[in-house]
Each structure stands twice: as C-alpha cells, then as structure tokens.
C-alpha cells in the first residue's frame, strides 16, 4: 500500500478508546511530537488500528498439512476465527447448519484441498448454504484448493459470491489468503494501516538496522502479535485477534484458564476476585491500573497473551525457536506502556524466554509503531531507519543460561568475571556495548545494554513456575524484585 507522502503530516495510533497522534515530517522521516486524543480521531494522514472485526469461519476436510498451512495464514492475517468445521467432527447436517448460523460469519474460507476431499467439503458447503444463505449481509466465500475441487464447490457456494484463491499449501496461496483477510479487515477505511502491517514494517527495519533477526512482541487491548524478521526482510508473524490486556482480557482467561493468568501475579489473590477484575477491565476501554494489584493483573495478562501467541505460532509451524533466539527484542503496545521499564523487561524475558544473547528495547508512546506505520504505508521514502534509531533505546542486555557458568564481561573497557548459578535471575550494572564469554556454556557475543544493565537469567528454558502458591509467589516476587519491577 502506498499513500501520497506529504511533507508534514500526522499518524494516529489507535488504542481502545483513545488514540496517540504523532506529527512528523516525511522528507526525511522525523517524528515531531505527539498528543493523546481522548475522542474520535479524524483528519490524520494515516491511522494505525486493528481494522474491522471480521468473523471468519473455516470449512475443511481433516488434512493436517492443509490445516497447518491455513493456520499459519490466519495467524499472519490476524483473522478472528469464529468457527472451524471439519468434515469428520461427527455432527449432523442440521447441527452444522445451526452452528454456522449462530457464528454469523463475515467471511467463509473453504479449504478445498485435493479431489479426495471434495465430497466431504461439499457437504460442509451445503450446511453453510442451509444455515447462512439468508443472513444479512450474506457472508463472502473464499475457496482454496486445486481447480477440480474448487469447481465442484461453485454450485453450493453460488449465493456467497465465491472467490477462488491458490492452494493454501503453496506460498502464493498463503500470501493471497493473508491479503484477502486483511482487505476485509480494512474495509473501506482510507488511510488505515493495520497494526499488523506497522509491526511487520518495524520488525523488518529493526532487523535491517541490527543486521540480525529481530522480534517485535506487541500486546494491545485486544490484539497480541509476535513478529520475527530476518536481516534479509523475511517475516514470520503471529497476530492474535481478540487476545490482549484490555477488551481481550477475558478471552485470555477463557483460553488458558484463570490459573494460567494468576500464576504470573506475585501476590496472593483469590480466583473469583481476579475474575471480577478481568471482566471489568474487559468492558472498560483504555482503563488504567491505578493500584498495584490491577497493574500486576495487566502484567500477568501480557505474559499470558504472549504465551498464547507462542503456542499458536508453534501449532501453526512457525519457527518459534528462531523467534526466541532473536538478538533484538522490541516490546510495544500496552506491554511497553507499563510505568517501570523493568516491568516491560520482565514481560519480554518471561514471556518470550529468549534463548540467546539479546537486547530488549521498548517503544515509548507508540513512536516505533507510528514509524512502522509510516514505513508500511510508504509515506516516507527515506529516513525510516534513522527515525527508528532516534527512538531506539535498549533497556537491557539479556543473557540466558541453561546451566551454571563463569562469565567474563567486558563493559566500558573494564573486564570482570561473574559466577552464574543455575536457577538464578539477577541484574548487574553495565552500560553501552557489552562483550560476554561464558565458560561452561556456548553463550558468547556482544550486545548493547541499556539503563537496566545486564540480565543474567539462569532459570532454564522452558521457564517453569512452581505450582503451589506458597512456592510460586515468593519466587515470582523475587524475580520482580531482582529487576526492580516490584
């Protein structure tokens, strides 16, 4: 997408009810200043937002390869999957028609697959026809698969304005499906840049600047994203719709259970009381955590939302190990808006669980997201990397260890040795470029530490939390305290 590039303009980064308006000059790109808008925002050159809510229903035969490929595409497209019907689910024709009617889809994706699946998928399409043909507005149907299968489905789907895309198992099929779903989300809003697109442009730019892979971990009110990019510009993205720390908070609890959120809170709280807070937050757009417990809940929700994103990414076959080993991790959204930088750092370290030496940075006042949006929309022909460099402030360098080690650290021309004990988690002071060599582990390299210094994380991977409150809460509190997040 390329919009006209004005010399001086504004870009709005939408929150749940408010928006942050950044003004910038485009030639070369430089952010000038920002203000928080409390009402509906109009008049900006571009706006960054989640787009419209598009309820997607998927119909397909039970084929693992097709499903994995489709999952990857839906994750990349930020699709809100309302229902996934498989031909072998054991339900009757009327039951399928009933659930499809209740789902009220906006977009139906039919995974046609091979000719051997045609009969099964045709049955699902007939259920769709019976259940949703009279829906207003009528949902649109997108069919992916080989030509013979898709042509068999045309009759059953005629009422839905059927559109045929290449097989989703192929790269071009995935790209086409992602593009189609994103077009639906954008609707007719001129100048809208999807938050996903802004984050992907940001991840690409960070990787280009670092000359190494980068990871952007974004948690907003109702969306959660993980975007990995290589220095060559290859992007792996998981955008979860409806999951977040705001209006998506109850969905986080719904997916993982209340205890999955509660386990990240470093203080005792009863489950019913926690659920009350989650529900109230979910129905209060841009609510602010004024008290410590509410803030702990927001941090816990951010942890868990990112954990879901990693889980979904792994299920869709995305290279999760590569994402975790990115040398640059950038935290954006509400997770970057926590009052203490150490709290954002802790979300990055505990939720991403980096497996290699990495610099963690956090966005401030949505500046990096705004630059990503300007880059994605093609509003600034040059100066994107420089603008990111201006707002690129590492918080800390994180060194993960699987076991005990003796670490040699060179920082500011001073060399010193540190002993890292297995299970420990602490910060040592370091600034600027830090060079590390660890005896006993393969960890070595250099990176940039920020104001929080060097984090030595020897808790192992995957990070395991004690099950019992009596053990878990003190352990969590100690981790929070050790980085200054409590």
């Amino acid at each position: 997408m390329t919009l006209s590039a004005p010399a001086s303009a504004t870009v709005d980064v939408a929150h749940e009810a408010r928006a942050r308006r950044w003004s910038y000059t485009a030639e070369p790109l430089a952010l000038a200043g920002s203000e928080l808008l409390t009402g509906p925002a109009d008049g900006a050159t571009a706006s960054v937002g989640p787009g419209g809510r598009v309820r997607v229903v998927v119909l397909g035969a039970p084929d693992g390869t097709i499903e994995t490929a489709a999952r990857r595409a839906f994750l990349a497209a930020g699709a809100d999957l309302a229902l996934w019907l498989r031909s072998n689910d054991g339900s009757t024709f009327a039951e399928r028609a009933g659930v499809l009617r209740r789902a009220r889809p906006d977009l139906v994706v039919v995974l046609g697959g091979d000719p051997r699946h045609a009969d099964a998928v045709l049955g699902l399409c007939e259920s769709l026809r019976a259940g949703c043909a009279e829906q207003t507005p009528v949902p649109r149907a997108v069919v992916t698969g080989d030509a013979r299968t898709t042509s068999r489905l045309h009759g059953a789907l005629a009422a839905f304005g059927v559109e045929v895309l290449p097989d989703v198992r192929r790269v071009e099929g995935q790209a086409a499906l992602v593009g189609r779903v994103r077009e639906f989300r954008k609707g007719t809003r001129a100048g809208l840049v999807l938050r996903d697109e802004a984050l992907e442009a940001l991840a690409r730019a960070l990787a280009r600047i670092a000359g190494a892979p980068s990871l952007v971990a974004d948690v907003a009110g109702a969306t959660t994203s993980l975007v990995g990019a290589t220095a060559e510009g290859v992007v792996s993205a998981a955008h979860l719709s409806g999951i977040g720390v705001g209006s998506g908070a109850d969905s986080v609890v719904g997916r993982g259970g209340l205890d999955a959120v509660r386990r990240w809170i470093p203080r005792p709280i009863d489950a019913p009381g926690l659920l009350e807070r989650v529900f109230n937050r979910a129905r209060w757009p841009d609510g602010i955590a004024a008290d410590g417990l509410a803030l702990s809940l927001e941090i816990a929700l951010a942890h868990e939302a990112l954990a879901h994103a990693f889980g979904d990414a792994a299920a869709a076959g995305l290279p999760v190990a590569q994402l975790r080993s990115a040398p640059v991790i950038c935290v954006t959204g509400r997770a970057a808006d926590l009052p203490r930088p150490a709290q954002s750092l802790l979300v990055a370290v505990d939720a991403v669980q980096p497996t290699a030496l990495c610099s963690v940075l956090r966005d401030e006042a949505d500046a990096l997201v705004a630059i990503g949006a300007i880059a994605a929309a093609g509003l600034a022909p040059r100066g994107v990397d420089r603008a990111i460099g201006t707002h690129h402030r590492p918080l800390a360098l994180v060194a993960p260890f699987e076991r005990s080690a003796i670490l040699r650290i060179v920082s500011g021309g001073v060399r010193r040795d540190e002993t890292v004990e297995r299970g420990s988690f602490r910060i040592i002071a370091a600034e600027g470029t830090v060079e590390l060599v660890a005896k006993g582990t393969p960890l070595r390299g250099r990176g940039v530490a920020g104001p929080l210094g060097l984090v030595l994380d020897a808790r192992g991977r995957p990070l395991e939390l004690p099950l019992r409150d009596a053990e878990r809460i003190p352990a969590l509190a100690a981790w929070f305290a050790s980085v200054g997040a409590l």
Binding site: F93, R102, E126, C132, E134, P272, R283, I288, P339
Partner: protein, 339 residues
C-alpha cells in the same frame, strides 16, 4: 442516556429448522411465540435430480414438497413422467431440510421442537428462516451484558435500596414468572435460587464474574452469553462484582415495578411496557471503575480535574478529584458510553 422511551428494534435469530413463523406486519406482544421449528436428527440424502434424470436446475419443476415441510415415509418428494414415472420418495417420517445444489434431497427425523418468543410489543418488520425482527415502542434500559435465554415477566422489586445485594432469602416461589430487580450485586446463590423458584430473570448493577462461571460454565465472558436452553436469565447493568445503581436508574425501576417487562440478552436490554408518562427519568451520572478494577460505582458527587497525578501503581495520568480521592480520568465514563 439511561432510561428512554422510544421506538426500538429487536432481532430474534432463529435456530435452524424453522417451520412456522409470524408474518411481516403482524402485531405481536412480548412473550408471544414468533417462530417455531424442529430439532433435527441425522439427515439422509435422497437422490433427486440424478434419479429423475433431469438437470439439478430443473428440479424445481418436478418437486412436490417445499423445503422445511413435514414428510411421511413414502411421500413423493419429486416426480417426472407419466406412463414411466420416476420419483424420489422420503425414506422415513421427518422433514425435508435441504435440497443440495446437485439436486439431492436431505430428509431428517424430528427429534425435538423449539419456539422463539418475542421480547417486545410491536410489529414484525422482518421474518425469514434466519431471523424475526420486531419494532415497537417501550421504555428501555440498556445494560452491559446479558446471560441466558430471553425472559418476559412482571418487574418486581427484590431489594430495598440501590446499594443492596439481592439476598437469596428475598427470593421464593411467589416470585414465579417475575423479573427481579436486584441492587448492586446478585450472587450466584441468588441467581440459581431465583431460577429454581421460577423467576423469569434477574436485573442488577453487577454480578460476580466467578458466580457467572458457576451458573453458565467456564466459557462465560464479559460480553454476555445469550442461550436458548433452560438456564437463569441475568442482566448486568453496569459492571461485574459490585455496582450500586444510580438513583436515576433505580427510582424508575421502583416506579415501574408491577409492569410487564422483557430482557433481551443478546443486546443486553431491559424493555418495560408502560405508558410514556409512567416515569420521568433523569440523566444518570458518570460511572467510575474502582482503582483495583473490582467494581464500578456511580460518580454521585461533583468532581473536578486534578491534573496529572501519580497513582500507587506509579502510573502518571490525568486525574479527576472525587470525594474519595483522585481517580484516573480514563476510569470515568459517561453512563451510556460505548464499552
């Protein structure tokens, strides 16, 4: 906005298998059956166009039974020819549920029946197999989230003050068919007791989220859970946990007690069928999210801007100074704010 007397529109989505429904323009009252249909078992495919030797597009000419019609075993679904007739017949008693694009008939046995009732007095403005829409005039109080099936009954006061919690001891079988007005909170025990005693529904400022999970299961969310099965009907007006009702909301509820009312859970609205001059509602005050998010309360006393304040969570933001201290401005919303 709070209470408003106006012309409202309510959609009643229909389950699959509708067989009867009201006609366009028909007058209906809340509680009337507007559509009924069958719950269907496993469908059997009966070859149609192929068996008759005609193109699928021509099947309409040969059909003898409309989609949705009840059929008996041996009923001719479609037939061609005279002397050398070819026909498709129903294999068992049931309904013709669907005709595929390839021209096959799907016949399914009837295993149960369902009915959808109106939640508004008015006229039918849309009626098809997927939805019946009714437009009518009533007093309406929009809520935050509705749970359970739609309900119709007599509005009945079950608390003494807007800050009271609905006590289970106030609920007994004499309240059968009533829509109970709770106060600031309705706990799971009161909700289930009301349902067991035959009360049509419960309306209050808030319900504990944990209690909603007890009643409706772990799938329940803050967006509500409209259902069709036999479960309690709950309408949360302001929030979750505890939420005292503002006087501007509670007093009209008291004045309207005894009137016929309906809860439409999908849109979380309470309709009360009373004369336009039955109440004179005022504008409700803004509502305020508790600092720890445990409840919502009305902002009863005047408050003024306090500039940027640093809160115990260390968040620094624009604040409003209330009698109880500063609160983040973002945590204060108009009563009718979209949320």
């Amino acid at each position: 906005m709070g209470w408003r007397y106006a012309l409202w529109t309510v959609d009643h989505p229909l389950p699959f298998g509708a067989t009867e429904r009201v006609g366009l323009g028909d007058p209906v009252h809340a509680g009337d059956i507007v559509a009924s249909g069958s719950v269907l078992g496993a469908a059997t495919s009966v070859p149609g166009a192929r068996r008759l030797g005609i193109p699928a597009g021509d099947l309409a000419i040969a059909r003898r039974v409309a989609t949705g019609a009840e059929v008996e075993r041996g009923t001719v679904l479609a037939r061609t020819g005279r002397r050398f007739a070819r026909s498709a017949v129903a294999p068992f008693d049931g309904r013709l549920v669907h005709v595929t694009a390839d021209g096959d008939f799907l016949v399914a046995p009837v295993v149960d029946r369902w009915a959808v009732r109106a939640t508004l007095d008015g006229q039918v403005t849309r009626s098809d197999t997927s939805v019946v829409t009714i437009e009518g005039t009533a007093w309406c109080l929009p809520g935050l989230a509705g749970y359970g099936p739609d309900a119709v009954g007599e509005l009945t006061l079950a608390v003494d003050a807007p800050v009271d919690e609905l006590a289970p001891t106030r609920v007994d079988v004499r309240l059968r068919g009533a829509i109970l007005i709770g106060g600031a909170r309705m706990a799971a025990e009161a909700i289930t007791r009301a349902h067991a005693c035959g009360a049509a529904g419960v309306v209050a400022g808030a319900a504990p989220a944990g209690g909603l999970r007890v009643v409706y299961g772990d799938d329940v969310t803050a967006d509500g859970l409209p259902t069709r099965d036999d479960r309690p009907t709950v309408l949360c007006l302001i929030g979750f946990g505890t939420a005292p009702l503002p006087n501007e909301i509670f007093r009209p509820l008291v004045a309207l007690a005894g009137s016929r009312a309906a809860i439409h859970t999908a849109s979380a609205r309470l309709f009360v069928f009373a004369a336009e001059d039955a109440i004179t509602p005022g504008d409700p005050p803004a509502v305020l999210l508790a600092d720890d998010h445990s409840g919502v309360r009305p902002l009863d006393a005047p408050a003024e801007l306090a500039g940027v304040v640093r809160f115990p969570s260390e968040v620094e933001t624009e604040a409003l100074m209330t009698a109880a201290g500063p609160v983040p401005l973002a945590n204060v919303l108009p009563f009718d704010a979209h949320r």
